[in-house]
C-alpha cells in the first residue's frame, strides 16, 4: 500500500516531502540547540550582573563592634532592575550560617562550597525558579572568623526572554532559508520536468504511424531517455518495415507453389492415362512437399525472431545442441551421407537459447545435406572448437557441394535469396534464419571455400567469459 502510494506520489511531492522532513527535523534540532545555547549565553550575561551585585554587597560586609554588619549599596540591587520584571532576593549570613539580613529562608546550594569566587545555581523559591549567585567573604576578626556568605537571586524571566530572542534570531534565517529552498525545489522540479512534458506532448500529439525520432531539445539528464526512445522507434520502424516486406514476400512465396499445385491438380483431373496421371501426382507431391517445407521455414524464422526478442538467454552447451541438431536434421535412412563431428571445444558453453541455436544448426546441416550431396563422397565435416584469438566458440560445417561464389555470399543471408548454382529445392530462408540466430547471440557467420571444393559455414559465438551481451 505504502509502497504503491510512494511510487504514485508525484516527484515534486516526494522531493518536497523529503526536503520538508529534513528541514523540519533539522530545524527542531537547531531550535533545541539554539535555545540551549541562548540559555547559556543569557546565563553568562545575567550571571555577571548577579556576581557584580554579590561582590558589591560583599565589599560592605564588615565587623563593627564585634558584630558582623553590612551596608547594602543601592546600586547592588538597583542594577538588577536591568532585568525589570524579575524578582530579587538576597541574604547575608554570618560564618555560622545565621542570617544577618535579607531573606532568611533562601535555599542553600546543594553541592557548591562557598569560596571567594561567585558561583551560581538554580533553585525554586517562593513559587518561581530563581538563579542564585553565592559568594563568600573571609572575615578574620577576633570576634568573628570564617566565611560570611552573600547570596543574591533573581528570577529567570529576563534570561528566558534573552535566550528565546537569541534562539529566535538564530532560527529565523534558517527557517527563511528552508522556505526559500523548498520554493526553489518546487520551481526547479517544475523546470526540470518541463522537457519530459514536452517529450510526452510530442509523442501524444503524433499520428499512430508517425515513428520519426523525437526532435525536442533535451537536457543532458534525459538525453538518454530521448535517445533510447528514438532508438526504440527506429527499431520499431525497421522491424515494421521488415515485417511488412516479409509478409509480402512470404505471401508471394507461398502463393506461387500453391497456384502451381492447383494448376497441376487441375491438369491431373483431366488425365486419363494412368502413367501420365501418376507422373502428375508425383509432381504434385513434390510441390506440396516444397510448399510444406517453405511454410515450416517461415514459421521457424518467425519463431526465431520472436524468441530472439522474447526469451531470456541462459548458458547452453553447444555440443549438446549440435548432437540434437544432427539427430533431427540428418535423416537416418539417407544414404551416402557421412557426418564427421569433432568436438575440441571441451564443453563449450554460450549464453543463448537452446531452441534458436538448434534451429540455426539444423538449417546449416540441412543446407549441407541438401547441397553437399552433389559433391564428392557426400562427406559433411562438423567442427566445434574455441578460437582463443577473438574469444569465440566456433562451429564450422563443411560440405562437398558446389559452394557459393564470392559475389553471392552477401546476398544469401537475405530472405528468399538462394545460391545461384543450385537446383536442389530450397526455401531461401535457411541462411537468413541462421543469420538471425547468430545476430541475436551477438555472433557472426562466415562463408568460406572448402579446400578441394565445397562450402564451409562457420558460426562464431562469444564465449561466456567474454561477457558479450547479445544485442
Amino acid at each position: 500500500m505504502i509502497r504503491a502510494l510512494g511510487q504514485r506520489l508525484s516527484l515534486r511531492s516526494k522531493l518536497l516531502l523529503f526536503l520538508g522532513a529534513l528541514s523540519l527535523g533539522g530545524t527542531i534540532v537547531l531550535a533545541v540547540a539554539a535555545l540551549e545555547y541562548g540559555r547559556r549565553a543569557a546565563d553568562q550575561v545575567y550571571d555577571q550582573l548577579l556576581a557584580g551585585s554579590a561582590l558589591a554587597i560583599a565589599e560592605t560586609v564588615n565587623v563593627i563592634d564585634r558584630k558582623l554588619e553590612a551596608d547594602l549599596p543601592y546600586a547592588a540591587l538597583d542594577m538588577l532592575s536591568l532585568a525589570p520584571d524579575d524578582r530579587v532576593f538576597y541574604r547575608i549570613a554570618a560564618p555560622g550560617g545565621e542570617t544577618i539580613t535579607g531573606y532568611s529562608d533562601l535555599p542553600a546550594p546543594e553541592t557548591i562550597g562557598v569560596t571567594g569566587h561567585p558561583q551560581f545555581f538554580d533553585a525554586t523559591y517562593r513559587g518561581e525558579m530563581v538563579r542564585f549567585g553565592i559568594l563568600g567573604r573571609l572575615v578574620v576578626e577576633p570576634a568573628v572568623q570564617g566565611w560570611a556568605t552573600v547570596q543574591v537571586g533573581q528570577t529567570r524571566r529576563a534570561r528566558e526572554a534573552l535566550a528565546r530572542s537569541i534562539a529566535f534570531d538564530a532560527i529565523t534565517p534558517i527557517l527563511a532559508l528552508t522556505a526559500l529552498a523548498l520554493a526553489l525545489a518546487w520551481i526547479g522540479v517544475t523546470l526540470a520536468l518541463r522537457p519530459l512534458v514536452r517529450v510526452g506532448l510530442d509523442l501524444r500529439l503524433r499520428r499512430p504511424t508517425d515513428l520519426h525520432p523525437v526532435a525536442v531539445p533535451a537536457p543532458h539528464e534525459i538525453e538518454l531517455l530521448v535517445d533510447s526512445l528514438n532508438r526504440f522507434m527506429q527499431r520499431l520502424r525497421s522491424n515494421m518495415g521488415t515485417m511488412q516486406s516479409f509478409i509480402a514476400e512470404a505471401a508471394h512465396q507461398i502463393r506461387t507453389p500453391l497456384a502451381s499445385l492447383r494448376v497441376q491438380a487441375q491438369t491431373a483431373l483431366d488425365e486419363d492415362d494412368p502413367a501420365v496421371l501418376r507422373r502428375s501426382l508425383e509432381r504434385i507431391e513434390r510441390n506440396a512437399a516444397l510448399a510444406s517445407r517453405l511454410t515450416h521455414q517461415l514459421l521457424s524464422h518467425a519463431m526465431v525472431v520472436h524468441r530472439g526478442e522474447a526469451v531470456a538467454f541462459e548458458p547452453v552447451r553447444l555440443d549438446e545442441v549440435v548432437r540434437q541438431a544432427i539427430r533431427e536434421a540428418v535423416p537416418l535412412a539417407e544414404p551416402g551421407i557421412d557426418i564427421d563431428f569433432r568436438d575440441t571445444a571441451d564443453g563449450a558453453t554460450v549464453n543463448g537459447d537452446t531452441v534458436m541455436l538448434r534451429e540455426a544448426v539444423k538449417n546449416v546441416l540441412d543446407n549441407a545435406v541438401r547441397h553437399g550431396r552433389a559433391g564428392a563422397g557426400g562427406s559433411i565435416v562438423i567442427r566445434l572448437f574455441t578460437d582463443r584469438t577473438d574469444a569465440t566458440h566456433c562451429l564450422s560445417v563443411s560440405d562437398g557441394g558446389p559452394g557459393i561464389k564470392e559475389p553471392h555470399r552477401a546476398r544469401v543471408f537475405e530472405r528468399f535469396q538462394r545460391g545461384s548454382a543450385t537446383e536442389a529445392p530450397g526455401s531461401g530462408l535457411g541462411l537468413a534464419i541462421v543469420k538471425s540466430v547468430v545476430d541475436a547471440h551477438g555472433g557472426r557467420v562466415d562463408l568460406t571455400d572448402r579446400e578441394g571444393g565445397g562450402l564451409v559455414v562457420t558460426l562464431r559465438f562469444p564465449t561466456l567469459s567474454a561477457g558479450a551481451v547479445p544485442a
Binding site: 554588619e69 543601592y74 540591587l77 520584571d85 524578582r87 532576593f89 517562593r126 513559587g127
Partner: protein, 373 residues
Amino acid sequence: MTRLPLVLALATLLASPAAAETTVFPRLSSGDGELIVYSSTDLDTLSPAIADFQVLHPAIEITYVDLDTAELYDSFVAEVDAGAPSADLLLSSAMDLQFKLANDGYAAAHRSSNAESIPDWARWRNHAFGVTFEPAVIVYNRELVPPAHVPNTRFDLLRLIREQADTYRGRIVTYDIEESGVGYLLATQDAVVGGVFGSLLEALGRSQVVLKGNTSEMLEGIAEGRYLIGYNVLGSYAQVWAERNRSIGIVLPSDYTLAISRTAIISAAAQHPQEAHHFLDYLLSVRGQRVLTDKGRLFAVRPEVTGPYSRIGISENRVGPLRSIQLGSGLLVYLDRLKREKFLAPWREGIGRRGREPEGGGAEGGGAAAGQP
C-alpha cells in the same frame, strides 16, 4: 457644596487617628460582591472613586480600611502568613513596601489594556501598578516668607537656612521618617540622588527642623504660620490645602522633583479576586483616573488624562527634571534591616532627636550633626 465632605475629611485628618479606621460602602443593589481594601490614602480622597466604581458595579460591597503604610504592610503580611483573611487590594503610597510585597510573591498578576497604559516606571510586571502621580514639593507660607526667600531648589533652601539661620530656626518642617513611610521613601531617594542632600540634612539638623508623622499636620502648621517652610511634602495634599488657604504656597524644586505613585497590588491570597481585579482596572481606567483627578484631587498617572490637577505644572519645562521613583529592585535596598538602621542612625543623630522636641530644645547645639552624611 462639594467642599463640605472635604472639610470633614480634613477634620478627621487633624484628629490623626493612630488606629485603623474601617468604613463600609454598602452595595447599591442586591448581590454578594465583596471587596476589602487596605489603603494609606485618606478616605475622602478615594471615596469619589469608590462611589463611581459602585455605580458601575453596584453589587459590590467595599470595606475600606485606612492604615498608615507600615501598619498596612505589617498587618497584611502577618495575616496572609497566618492564613487569616486579609485585604483583597492594597493601595499605598509606600512604593517600596508595595514593591516588596510584589517581589516576595504576595501579589497576583493583573492583565488588561488599562494596565498596559501605565508608564513603565509606575509598573512592575503585571503585579504592581502606580495609580497616581504625586510630586514631592516645598511648601511655604506666602504671608510670612518674603518672595526673595522662597527656595526654588534645594541649594536655595540650604543657603536660606545658612544665611537666615535665626529666622528659620525651628520653623522648617519635614517628615519624621521613622514614622512616615512616604517620608522615609522620599528621604532615601534624596540620598540616592546624593549631592546636596547630605549638606541639607546637616543644615536642617542645625536649624532644629521640626518632624511630623503626617502631611496634614505639616500643612496645618504652615498655614497657621507656626512653620514657614515644609520640605518634601506630598504635592497632592499641598494642592488641596493651597486651594483652601491662600497663605499656602507651593514650589516644585527645579533642581529635581521627586515623584511617587500610589501603588496598588492585588493580594495573591485574595478572597475576592474578581472584585479586586474590577476595582484595580477601574482605578487604572481613563474614567477612574479622571475621577481621581477631578474629585479626589490627585494627579493621574496616565499621561492622556488631564484635568485641573494635572495642569499645576507637572511638565518638565516648568518643574525641572522629574525623578519618578521607579518600581524596581532598587527599592528593596532601604528596606533592608541593616541598611535602614545605617540610614536612620545619622539622621537620628543629626536631626531626629531634636526634631521631635518642637519649638526649642536646641540646647544641645547644632554641631552634633556635622560630619554626618
